[in-house]
Every structure is written in structure tokens, then in C-alpha cells.
Symmetry: none
Subunit: 207 residues, 4 copies
DNA sequence: GATGAATGAGATTTCATTCAT
DNA sequence: TATGAATGAAATCTCATTCAT
């Protein structure tokens, strides 16, 4: 019987939390497919039986973790600023990029797993893509709105015709650079934030 | 006895090829960890015994496929042009991006698997990173050389101080957008090539 | 602590009844061995703890249900009529067969499970056989008494030497036809009662 | 991969046979649901892996055994004689009943399990019922043909209107008495064959 | 070179039963 | 009385790998 099927008491919630934390830690250290249910319950200091009391299987545990990640992604999607083509816009963008990096970092493990289509079901992968495209759309909106506010004829074709494609490309860049940073490869974080926001800015505003 | 331990006769080569093709097709359809040796031999119309005659295990089969991919990646790394800040440079860059997309597409499955650290060993993942950074370096070289050729003082800080970080970000963008295009998501390929090269160009040349 | 260990209060009786009903319904729908204690308590809207408060285990629950069935079987055993070889005897037999069918139907699930030696313990299965042979004996008595009353020399060997075997055969027929009727197979009930009693009658009285 | 998915070599056939025999013996001794795959494998002197190489699970093993039983049942169905209302008819019937008892005995275990609807799937249970009704039909044919051959007006209503119901009842009697005899209860076999055939005869021919 | 049958360690999953509250 | 969380022994099932032919 998967979790949430029934209201949980105090103790139950506590146990679920222990399992979720243990699962995340294991996935983080060893990757999804290498982790056995046994590893999770051992780390959570419970039993096999207890695990299956709350989750249908390892995938189900992952889904629960994913829900949090997608929720936080949705939150920063809503926060994408109007980026005007001036220093204020640059600053707003850089602040948002910094926040994005923080959120990504917090859920890096889960997002990495999600991006490996094979490991999650069709449905979840679809949820992930959906979240992604909403984010691309938010970027498109924020960038074009900023340009329009300043300059009615939108000189750059990047902003008029191809804004969506540009947004997707920038988003992929953000995602992947953060993947590298979160994983093992060491890139200087602050400079990277500057570079990423500068590239996004230039991608939309370069003549 | 792993492959290549000894020269193969006609029939042996044929069998190895069948196994490689079957393995690639299976990985493509179901992902690395979901594929069992049994799936591969069934698809290749051979037997388990035969598989282990040529490959030590599933990883070994993957490594053989990976070698091709890394070789082709090395080739386009060597071909990165000198991108001057003028229309000729833009065109050269766009042509290279197009070629990159083609090569990536040909090896998308293998590259996707490689990028999932957990699924391949440390060593292979390291090979992948190495190839990646060589490519980032080639981009850095091509872009700065182009700028230097035209404009000795390299006004943009992107080109002087942070060129490497910019190159990494652009490369990640290239990689990830191609991942989306190769997987299931449909993005317009020609426009995407234009956008990607425009963004890379702007990333380095925007004031 | 198994049931009946101690007098039950109002609430306790109510709970036991809920469990018995839930158990019967579950056995009916899914068969004995497929039913888990969990299914029963869920259907009864109680908890595992409560179940084990009143029953030692699943077998114990079944035994409680079985007691009712065997009691009712004993009652109709006692009611088997004296079947004289004439229309009055035929009618008396048919009425009894009708009643047998009704009783069987009421306890079909329990009897079916009982007849599957493997599913119940040795002891219970023995109880069932015992009830059965008492019934066969009652049939023997009723049939031979009826014949003797009418016709002192008992021409038919069925009545003299092999009456018991005949009774067992007829009883098995009754039992099994009712099993079919109680399960899913649709046989016309009234005609079947007529046929069954006619066959029993002929089995004993045919020359 | 269940059996029969692919042609089996010599050794494979041998192993399948060992597993089938071991399974039958175990089911016989301990009943279907009490038997674990482990018991079967241990008795057959093979391994778990080998079991699952040829059968999908315990049910699948049973199905294979069932096929044999149903085939033999079909054979004696085809052999039901024309039972004329005279000594020759009685003898033919008794011989057939004897053969039925032998065949039933050979497959008693499997038939017992089959008759416990819950243990086998819907489909198999349906196959069993189908076989049963074909047998009832054969009995109906044989009995009415015999009567018709001798006596054109078919005086007894048992033969005209209700022959099918009578056949079902007789068949259930046969089945169930044989179940008792095959199980543990000791009934005198030869006398029982006589009694069963006499009852069937009387059921159809009693005025 | 090729085969496919056999293996068994290890992973997943179930469920009767206990126990603290 | 009642609860539901926890348990873990035992069963099911998978699959990489070996080996005799």
C-alpha cells in the first residue's frame, strides 16, 4: 500500500520522513539503479516490511521525492523577472539565475534521475518535460516583456520570432551547467552565475 | 575472453557486428540498465555463450559502442573553426554547429548513457569528461583566435577572462538541446541550429 | 487470545460479528487461501490488533463459520424422512431435497472450503467427513425403513446389501450438483430438485 | 520464459519432465497452495533458475499438468457407449464407469485442484467446466440413443425432457465419489463401480 | 565458433503476528 | 477494547555468468 493512501499518524509521518531522507541520500551517493530497497531501509533504521507499508517499490519512493523538486521548480518559474535591456534588467536576471542554481542544487539528485528517461515511467518523465516547458515559457515572457517595455519595435529577431527557441536553449544550458556543478566537476559558482546570466542576456538582446 | 583478445575470422566479425547493433538498438529503446544480456542475444539471434565469447559483460559491450562516439567527437573537436566577429565567422560557426548536431545525433544514445555517471564506471565517465573539456577548449581557442585576429584589445571580458566558462556553458547548451532533439521532443532542427550558433556568437561577442 | 476465551461485552460481540461477516464475504469472493487477514479487517473496518484479539488466526475464523454450517447440516440430517415406495414417499423425498438445497446454499462457501482437505486442518476435515457419513447413514435408514414398511422381503439388492454405498453416491451427487448451482454455473433449480429426488428414488427402488 | 515458448532439446525435455513429475508428487502430498516452488525444485533436483526457465510460476506448472488430465478426460468422453435398456447395455455402462474411475484416479490430484476454482485462473476453470459439459452431453447422447434404439416412444420423461439434467447429476456423482475414493476415504472400489453404474442406469431407465 | 541448459546469489515482495499506545 | 505501526521470516522471481556438448 503506497503512502498517502490513508492519513498517517505522528509516528507514521516520522517513519515516512526517515525513509525519504534515507532514499535521497542513497540515490545521491550511489545513483538510482544501484540502490536496493535494502540499502534504504538499513539507512533509515527500519525493516523491509515497513518500507512496503508506505511505498509500493523503489520507483514510488522516487516519485515522492520528485514531487518536492517539481514543486520548487514551479515556484522559481513563477518568479522569473521582467528583464529590461538595461543594468537593472541584468541585475534582476542575475539574481534569478542565482536562485535557480540554489534550487537546482537542492534537488540535483532527483532532477538528474528524472532526466534519465529510462529510469522513471513515461508519466513522470512527461511531468518533468511539462515543468521544463513552463519554465521556458516564463523565460520567454520575462525577456520579451522587458524588451517591449523599453523598445516597442523589438529590433532583435531573437525576441520576436525565435524567443521560445532561445529560451529553451538557455534553459538547457542552465540545467546542464548546474548538473556539472552539482555532480562532481568543480566550476567556480559565482563566476558561472555571472556568465550564465550574461549569456542569457546576450542571447536575447544582442543585435 | 573479452573482444579483441585475438584476431577474428570472417564469421566472428559478423557475429560481433550483430551483437553491437543489437546492443545499440536495445539501449536506444529501453535504456542501459533495463537491458539484459538476454535481450541483446535474442535480438542478435545468437546465444548467451556466444555473447560471452566476445564481450566480458554488458559494460564491455557498451565500451565498444562508446569508442566510436568518442572518436567522432574528437574529429569535430579538431574541426572547430576560427570564428571572426563578422558574417564570415557567423557562417563558419553555424556550419560547425550543424555538423555537431549531426554527429551528436548519430551517437545520441551512447552519449546519453555516458552522461549518466552511475551507469558507467568511473573510468568511462572520466573519458567522457575529458572529451568534453577538450571540446570546450577548442571552442575557447576558436572564439578568442577569431576575436584577436580582428581586434587586438579584446574589448569584451567574455573573451579575455571568462572565455573558458562561456565555452563550457555553450557546450552544455549544445549537448542538452541535442539531447532533447534526439530523444522524443520535437524541436525544429534548422531553426535550432541557427539559434544555437547565434547564442554562442552573442555569448562571446556581445559587449 | 482466541475467541470465546471469556464472555464478551456488547461491543465485543458486535466486533466479532463484523469480523465473521467480513470473513465469509471475503472467502466467498476470493477463496480461502487467497484471503489475507488484512482483507478481512479492512472489510470489517477494524484493525489487525482487533482481529487477533478475537481469533487466533485465519483458520480460527473459519472454524467459527464452520460451526454454524455443521449445525444446520446436522438438523437436516435428523429430518430425513421415511421414504415409502409410493407417491407419498416421492413427495417426502422431494421436499427434503429442496430443504437440503436451501441449507447447502446458505453455507456453500464454507462447505466448499471444508471439502478442500488441504486448506483446513486434519481435524476440521475429519469433522466434515463425520457429518457427511452421518448424513449418508440417515439416508440409508430413511430409504430402507420406507421399503421395509411396504414390502418385507426388500426385493432390490440396492436396499439390502448396498444401501450404504448407494446413499454415499447419492449424497455426493447432491453435494456436487449444489456446488455447481451455488458457484457460478446456472442450472434450473426447481427442475434440478425434481431430478435429484427422482434419481435418488430410482437408485434405491429400481428393480 | 514459460515452457513451450521454444522447441526443447533432449536435455530440456528431460528437465521439464522431472519438474512436472516433482510438481505432481508435491501437489499430491501437500496440496497446491502449501507447495512452494522450492519444494518442487528440491524434489526435481534442479535449481530455482531452471524452474523459471521453463515455467512462469507455480500456476504455470499446474496448467501443464492439467492439459494432460483434460486430454484424457476428452478421450473417455468420446468412448461413452450406447447404453441399451438391457443386460448388454448395463455391462457396457459398467465397463465405461470402470474406465472412468481409472482415468479419474490417474489425474485425481489435478482434478481436485481444478475443482477449487480459486486456485486456478478464470480461464482454466472455464476449460474444466467445458470438458465437464461435453462429458454430460456424451452421457445424454449415449443413454438416449440406447433407449431410442429399443423403444421408440421413450416412455420415461428422464430420457426425453430432462436427460441433460440427469446426466449432469450422474456425472457429479461420479466425480465426487471418485474424489472420495482417490483422497483418503476408503470405499470398496468394485462394488462402488457396480453401484454407480446401476444408479446411472436406473436414473435414466426407471419408469 | 556456437549453443542453450543450468546455476545460484541476490533482489524484491508478502503477510501473519506482535506490541506499545 | 481498540488501534495501526512495525517486524522479519519466508516466498517469489531475476539475471549475469558458466560449462558441457
Amino acid at each position: 500500500m503506497p503512502a498517502q493512501g490513508r492519513a498517517l499518524g505522528r509516528q507514521g509521518q516520522q517513519t515516512v520522513r526517515k525513509l525519504l531522507e534515507a532514499g535521497l541520500a542513497e540515490f545521491d551517493e550511489r545513483g538510482f539503479s544501484a540502490v536496493r530497497v535494502d540499502d534504504v531501509v538499513r539507512r533509515a533504521n527500519t525493516s523491509h516490511g515497513t518500507f512496503y507499508l508506505y511505498f509500493a517499490n523503489k520507483d514510488d519512493l522516487f516519485k515522492a521525492l520528485l514531487r518536492d523538486a517539481l514543486r520548487d521548480m514551479q515556484i522559481i518559474t513563477d518568479e522569473f523577472p521582467v528583464v529590461t535591456p538595461n543594468p537593472a534588467g541584468r541585475t534582476a536576471l542575475r539574481n534569478w539565475v542565482r536562485k535557480f542554481c540554489e534550487v537546482y542544487h537542492a534537488h540535483a539528485t532527483v532532477i538528474m534521475i528524472l532526466s534519465q528517461a529510462e529510469l522513471v515511467g513515461e508519466e513522470l518523465y512527461g511531468d518533468g518535460l511539462h515543468t521544463l516547458f513552463r519554465l521556458a515559457e516564463a523565460i520567454t515572457q520575462g525577456m520579451t516583456a522587458g524588451a517591449r517595455a523599453h523598445n516597442l519595435d523589438l529590433g532583435s529577431p531573437a525576441l520576436s520570432e525565435h524567443a521560445e527557441l532561445t529560451a529553451v536553449a538557455c534553459l538547457m544550458m542552465l540545467e546542464r551547467v548546474n548538473y556539472l556543478m552539482s555532480a562532481d566537476v568543480r566550476l567556480p559558482k559565482d563566476e558561472m552565475v555571472d556568465r550564465l546570466s550574461a549569456i542569457i542576456y546576450a542571447a536575447f538582446h544582442a543585435s
